[in-house]
Symmetry: C2
Subunit: 207 residues, 2 copies
């Protein structure tokens, strides 16, 4: 089986959520799996000088209009959360913890956490809520809750974010299609609006 697609995302990113809902079907059409990489956009924003989209003059108003419209366009259920943006260390650490235990079930976990935030308006930035939501996928609630405060998983998330930025990740979603050339991170695609390009790239091996 060819190398999986690398999917980087922040749980506070609505376009990341839309992308997470679409990436597995896109990858599967080309016989690929998906590796899930939680990201902290706030760290990247310190390097790029950016800030949460909705807080930027002009761009913020547009984004609040574009997000629900893009969700409708892609047939993804979405209700902008009452608290936005949120800090996403808690759900990100649960994903890293679960990824090491059972990478195959990561996709279901990521989508369940994302939907709790972007459909059911639950503040998954709260460690207790993140653990509650994760438990609905069959995970051990107390073990997931403990992972959030565990220095080992805090450190793992720090390293994950550093590694992503070293590969060039600065937004969400951010996808790499492996090119199979050693340590090359792959062909980079930023945004849920590059999925048409990813599709053609996978079909033709480049363009």
């Amino acid at each position: 089986m060819p190398a999986p697609i690398q999917f980087h995302f922040d749980f506070s990113s609505p376009y990341g959520y839309i992308g997470a809902e679409k990436i597995e079907a896109l990858a599967a059409r080309h016989g690929r799996g998906v590796d899930w990489h939680p990201m902290l956009l706030g760290v990247a924003f310190r390097t790029t000088g950016s800030q949460p989209l909705t807080t930027i003059p002009l761009k913020g108003d547009y984004t609040k209009h574009d997000v629900p419209r893009s969700a409708r366009f892609h047939d993804v259920a979405l209700v902008m959360p009452s608290k936005f943006p949120i800090a996403t260390q808690a759900p990100a650490r649960i994903v890293l913890w679960q990824r090491e235990r059972d990478a195959w079930r990561c996709g279901a976990l990521v989508k369940t956490l994302y939907r709790a935030y972007f459909v059911d308006d639950r503040d998954i930035g709260d460690p207790d809520i993140a653990a509650d939501v994760a438990a609905t996928t069959g995970l051990d609630r107390e073990a997931a809750r403990a992972a959030i405060d565990d220095p080992a998983w805090k450190d793992a998330l720090r390293r994950e974010v550093e590694a992503a930025m070293a590969k060039g990740v600065f937004g969400s979603p951010f996808v790499f299609v492996p090119r199979g050339e050693g340590h090359d991170p792959g062909e980079p695609f930023w945004g849920s609006d590059r999925f048409d390009q990813i599709d053609r790239w996978l079909a033709k091996g480049g363009f």
Copy 2:
């Protein structure tokens, strides 16, 4: 005939160029024309706190890779100019001057100026070069050159940019699909990567 699509762009924007190459065919499929609105992104950046994409850490490197790839994806000829970005007052004023004289020929003028910059590497920010290029579309070279320095057209461009920002324009390309509701500017779409949404919006009258 239904109201034309409003196309806002900056001559220094590669995604604006890609959009300019595609918008007329997209509009024509739905029986629409295109109104051309030159923009000065630098003015908008003072409001949004942004800067030219290629100068931003991480995002700059990605953009330099994404621009030529997106041009190939959309089958548009593009060579990144040796001088980038450029000030675009000169070509913008020629477009406003020509728009008042003969709006129907604006599309050909915009695309000729854009191609001079993004295919032939000519610095259309230079007033003499902008006038030379405009003359290849049949315009009076000296009259076009004079318009660039004419206070009336300087003022017209200032008003054009202010009006665009009052409608919410902050990037390039920026498209409005008129909804026919009085003074409403229309449904806004930012980026050459929203053309699939524009297409569906025009086909279905919204979604």
